[in-house]
Symmetry: C2
Subunit: 153 residues, 2 copies
């Protein structure tokens, strides 16, 4: 949990540096994501918030806080799963241009990998040749993790 605390500190510093306030709800929701270590939905976050902080939070607020945290590059939204997950690069300095998410379809454990910039340029080129432009450099791969795979059948 100290690691989570450290992350929150980093997040607070980053937000202050950007001149945006990181309020109590934002910190709390961010903490839940840090401690969960899995992708969770907005409604799961709202439930967990009430359990942990003995206070209800409307899902609208959860969605809004998630938008905020995404803008601050602290959180990602997985579009294939409709769930949120903490960015795994918060504590490293350099900007990551593109991420590949390996998402377990059973337990929603997620591994975030960085895309090698050569491969990324190659892909962008291929997309351009097909008459499109890449809008968000986020790649989600529907996977199964080893432990869930071992349990199957």
């Amino acid at each position: 949990m100290n690691a989570a605390k450290a992350m929150v500190d980093i997040a607070e510093k980053e937000c202050k540096a950007h001149g945006v306030p990181i309020t109590e709800k934002r910190v709390n929701l961010f903490s839940i994501l840090l401690q969960t270590q899995k992708a969770v939905s907005a409604y799961e976050l709202a439930d967990e918030y009430e359990r942990m902080f003995h206070e209800p939070v409307p899902v609208v607020t959860v969605y809004r806080v998630m938008e905020f945290l995404q803008r601050e590059h602290l959180v990602h939204k997985l579009e294939t799963a409709n769930k949120f997950i903490v960015c795994s690069h918060i504590d490293c300095k350099k900007k990551h241009s593109a991420s590949q998410f390996l998402i377990c379809r059973e337990c929603f454990t997620v591994k975030e990998l960085s895309v090698n910039s050569g491969k990324y340029e190659e892909l962008k080129l291929m997309i351009q040749q097909a008459g499109f432009l890449l809008d968000s450099p986020q790649f989600e791969l529907n996977c199964i993790c080893q432990s869930c795979h071992a349990k199957e059948d």
Copy 2:
């Protein structure tokens, strides 16, 4: 429209070869997808069905027919968009191992590209090294098409 008719014929043959019945609803919904040339949601399909065939179809049926068409490899579901699109490889014989979908976030025009098998194996290996197994070889890229891009701002 003749191209669509030809596709329906192929689909009917394929289903018969598998010993599964392709009913009127299935043919009709498949035809709508063929003619739309874009990704469409289950509810849009239900609406379009009523317009085209002067008969309502419940969305449950749409979802079930889409499942059926996916099993027959005639249709793909785009998880990032919650929409369906006809498979672009129906009329070619060979199985396509993996597809990359370029999806316009504005108009939902979609381009389906085949993934080069060398790249695919490379990716699978990388995923395995990360402790996951690829579950569905379908890659969705959030893009914008040139004509929508031209319209922006």
